[in-house]
């Protein structure tokens, strides 16, 4: 099943013989891709397979070493992103790529401003015109008119993602490329996006779509091309394949093989949390964002925080980490009162956090992968607590590299050069490295491939099984429920409900019931 015979129309977008070498790695090796009109074409592959590199080549951001991009049969001038945009290619990049200083509206229209004439020249931006053009589209993704005028730096990761989606949809592109657009997105918004993708397909737009959520493919994507280690493995029609087959293509093994399969999950489900309370937070209040939140986390327990975007989940854990100042409230760790002055103090006390926005808050782009792991606790790689041993540092990084399957030619290479999913794994490694008493995960598996996701889940469970405690934020309710012992539901900064005994309930086959319980609480609970 080599060719995509499900698509009869001639190819709109074609990549021919694309090869790209970076310092130290070959990202793409003689790759072909062909997308027809009105086709949703999924790009699949493990972290570091080369998907984003191919996309940035199609979008004109990166120059290939060899190969050409054809649009409607004619080669695309390789003169940068502007040419690609002008030819009708719109891209949502994997990493948030908005300009913090500009408002949402200016970001959406950046490079494609609607202008009015001043002195006969199209110099002035017509902000009213721009607002009119995107108002409805923005509203569909939960962006209000006043938010359009707000600088992007004031939004959280979720909202930024929504703005990027609007930015890509606003211009009736001929080819729309989406690199993990649903990463960290709420279920509702996810469905809105899928709706838009379908209607674009109706209108004959070609879509290239990268995702690690294989279940999303079915019923939506037409074709899937699978990459592995910079090579195209195969292109298959989605309707005639299965998730298992795709996983096999991506990783060369069966899905049961990884992460010990269900064994670890079963083990996890049966372990109940200990009785000793590790973290005791009382009446946490921070302005109007966090209101009177109290929570306990027991030894070996994973507490999930659920809620819609802006419910204040991130805000709660930021105050625990000492990143934002509390208005009032107390936190005890192992019975000792924590001073929430700084993140340094929090790390020293035994807390650690995987932040939600890996590019802005997570990676130290100029530093090596090894340093990005060890930075949270340099004493582990230091001799006499002071003298850093490059060897120990590398050994530490290597340990996590094998454990999490971080794909990099060398742990001493800049982390900025790693693929998004691999960067995320490094951030997780950084937190595990501090051997914390309480580990906070804010969207820990965003951008991580299926295989690594299982690995991370196993890690989280093992960590809890060995007596560690965790707070987990995940916008995917399924993921939240699979990992948590107990879920607190937040709304408008308040705890509006709690669902306990989740492992037992799942074991009893009541997954659907608790899922809808959590969703109902998130949507309805509390005053607005």
């Amino acid at each position: 099943m080599r060719a995509n015979d499900s698509v009869s129309t001639p190819a709109v977008l074609e990549a021919r013989g694309i090869t790209k070498h970076f310092e130290g790695v070959t990202a793409l090796d003689d790759v072909e891709l062909s997308v027809g009109a009105g086709e949703i074409h999924a790009l699949l592959g493990g972290n570091g397979a080369g998907k984003s590199t191919l996309i940035s080549i199609i979008s004109g951001v990166t120059k290939p070493d060899r190969g050409t991009i054809h649009l409607n049969g004619s080669p695309l001038a390789s003169s940068g992103p502007f040419a690609a945009m002008a030819a009708g290619i719109s891209t949502i990049y994997q990493e948030l790529s908005l300009v913090p200083a500009l408002s949402a509206l200016d970001n959406i229209f950046l490079g494609r401003e609607i202008t009015k004439k001043t002195l006969g020249l199209p110099l002035t931006s017509d902000r009213r015109g721009m607002e009119q053009k995107v108002r409805d589209l923005a509203a569909d993704f939960g962006i209000t008119a006043s938010e359009l005028g707000t600088p992007v730096s004031e939004f959280g990761a979720l909202k930024k993602r929504a703005i990027e989606i609007v930015k890509a949809l606003a211009f009736n592109p001929q080819v729309l490329i989406l690199d993990e657009p649903t990463s960290g997105l709420e279920d509702a918004e996810r469905q809105v996006l899928f709706g838009y993708m379908r209607s674009l397909r109706e209108r004959g737009v070609s879509l290239v779509w990268v995702t690690h959520h294989l279940e999303e493919l079915f019923g939506l994507a037409d074709t899937a091309t699978v990459f592995k280690d910079g090579r195209r493995v195969d292109t298959v029609p989605v309707e005639s394949t299965s998730a298992a087959e795709l996983v096999n293509l991506m990783f060369g093994m069966d899905s049961e093989e990884f992460g010990g399969g269900d064994a670890s999950r079963v083990a996890h489900l049966s372990t109940s949390a200990g009785s000793r309370v590790v973290l005791r937070a009382r009446n946490l209040t921070r302005g109007t964002v966090v209101r009177d939140v109290s929570l306990d986390v027991r030894e070996g327990e994973i507490v999930g925080l659920a809620g819609l975007a802006g419910a204040g989940r991130t805000e709660v854990v930021r105050t625990l980490m000492g990143l934002d100042a509390l208005t009032s409230g107390t936190v005890e760790l192992d019975g000792r009162r924590l001073s929430l002055r700084s993140s340094t103090a929090a790390y020293r006390a035994g807390l650690a956090m995987v932040p939600e926005d890996r590019k802005q808050l997570g990676i130290l782009a100029d530093l090596s992968t090894a340093k990005n792991v060890s930075i949270s606790r340099l004493s582990t790689v230091a001799t006499a607590g002071f003298w850093i041993s490059a060897k120990k540092e590398r050994a530490l990084a290597e340990k996590f590299r094998t454990r999490l399957g971080i794909k990099t030619p060398d742990v001493d290479a800049r982390i900025g050069n790693l693929s998004g999913g691999n960067q995320q794994k490094v951030i997780v490694a950084r937190c595990l490295n501090t051997a914390p008493k309480l580990l906070i995960f804010d969207e820990p598996t965003q951008g991580i491939d299926v295989s690594a996701k299982v690995d991370v889940h196993t890690l989280v469970r093992d960590y809890a099984a060995n007596g560690g405690s965790a707070i987990l934020i995940a916008s995917e309710v399924e993921e939240l429920l699979e990992l948590s012992h107990r879920v607190l539901v937040l709304k408008n900064g308040r705890v509006v409900g709690e669902v306990d005994g989740i492992p037992a309930a799942i074991e009893a086959g009541e997954f659907a019931r608790i899922k809808s319980e959590v969703l109902n609480l998130s949507a309805a609970g509390g005053a607005s």
Partner: protein, 353 residues
């Protein structure tokens, strides 16, 4: 940590008074007012004669340079060459007038020199790939070297026609208002308009705030940065033409030290070396603050050995005032959010560092 958010005011706040209260330049403005009041009580001469106009007049050169510098800083660069380019343009204008050419020709020649200098800065930074600091430092060396060689260190004189007295602001236009003041006003308004209302203005912010994202959106980072340097060069040319008049002669070292003053004025006004931030009004107020500091020192007869400390202290005060006004602003925004009983986006803003 201070973090100025320049773009939200106009939009977040719909009410005029509130908009004023939350304006980030309020700090500098109130500092100026307080200083002026103190000065008025302590030194009645402060309002004597044309002191205020003299003060404004003396700030014009730095102000014009600071406007250009603000644009360069917003787009993520820094222009160390402004002083030297300004001197070279002053020399060009003076020499051309001396040759007997009409003033507008002299002005165009100076402008041309400024534009070329800006293009060269842009070339060195965006094409050769030099760091902004080094590229423009080299341009500084080049421009001032050319002026030294051309003049052999002897100041250019003998170009002061009666029209040139008007250009230099030595002959007022109406009452105490001089041509340079009008020019500075027009420049400030155009630059403000450019930054807030045009595509190019948006692109300056985009490139300085996140060059990668700007490039991905199809903005030509190189060309935008080059244009910022060209604007700075044009400002330097205008400042040079004026300063040549005000100064009555053009010594080869005319521009020495102006770059630091222009950068200081821009930063007092809220611009940042890290790019993506800055306001034209801030640059104007920043240069007025610098001039006011000198004026007060002069009026108070501060012994020269204390002057550096006093100027340093005034700089500090200006920036702290800025900071306090920002705190006040945030508090005001929060109050409003509470009133609307809605979580304010500002509170959610991660107060980093």
């Amino acid at each position: 940590m201070m973090k100025s958010r320049t773009l939200d005011i106009a939009t977040v706040s719909r009410n005029a008074w509130e908009r004023l209260v939350v304006d980030p330049t309020l700090g500098v403005i109130s500092l100026l007012v307080i200083f002026s009041l103190i000065a008025a009580f302590a030194f009645p001469v402060f309002y004597a004669g044309n002191n205020i106009y003299n003060l404004v007049g003396s700030s014009i050169t730095v102000m014009i340079l600071a406007i250009g510098m603000t644009i360069v800083l917003i787009s993520g660069g820094i222009d160390l060459s402004v002083g030297a380019v300004m001197a070279l343009c002053a020399g060009t204008a003076a020499s051309v007038v001396k040759l007997g050419a009409p003033l507008w020709v002299a002005f165009l020649c100076a402008l041309l020199v400024g534009v070329i200098a800006g293009l060269m800065n842009g070339f060195l930074v965006t094409r050769v790939g030099l760091p902004d600091f080094i590229g423009t430092l080299a341009m500084l060396g080049l421009a001032s070297g050319v002026l030294y060689i051309a003049t052999q260190g002897v100041p250019i004189i003998g170009y002061m026609t009666s029209e040139y007295y008007v250009i230099g602001g030595l002959e007022p236009l109406v009452g105490p208002v001089t041509l340079p003041m009008v020019v500075a006003l027009v420049l400030a308004l155009s630059a403000g308009w450019l930054l807030s209302r045009t595509r190019l203005g948006t692109h300056f912010f985009a490139v300085g705030s996140n060059a990668v994202a700007a490039r991905q959106s199809g903005v030509s980072v190189r060309w935008v940065k080059t244009q910022a340097y060209v604007i700075s060069g044009v400002c330097a040319a205008i400042a040079g033409v004026i300063l040549a008049g005000r100064n009555n002669n053009v010594p080869a070292d005319l521009g020495t030290g102006y770059e630091i003053q222009a950068i200081s004025a821009a930063i007092i006004g809220g611009a940042s070396l890290m790019g993506g931030r800055g306001r034209v009004l801030g640059a104007v107020l920043g240069s007025l603050t610098l001039a006011l500091a000198i004026n007060i020192i002069n009026l108070a007869g501060v012994p020269s050995s204390f002057q550096k400390i006093v100027i340093g202290a005034i700089l500090l005060l200006a920036v702290i005032a800025n900071y306090l006004s920002e705190l006040a602003r945030n508090a005001a925004l929060r109050r409003r959010a509470k009133r609307d009983s809605q979580a304010s986006s500002l509170e959610r803003t991660k107060k980093e560092i």
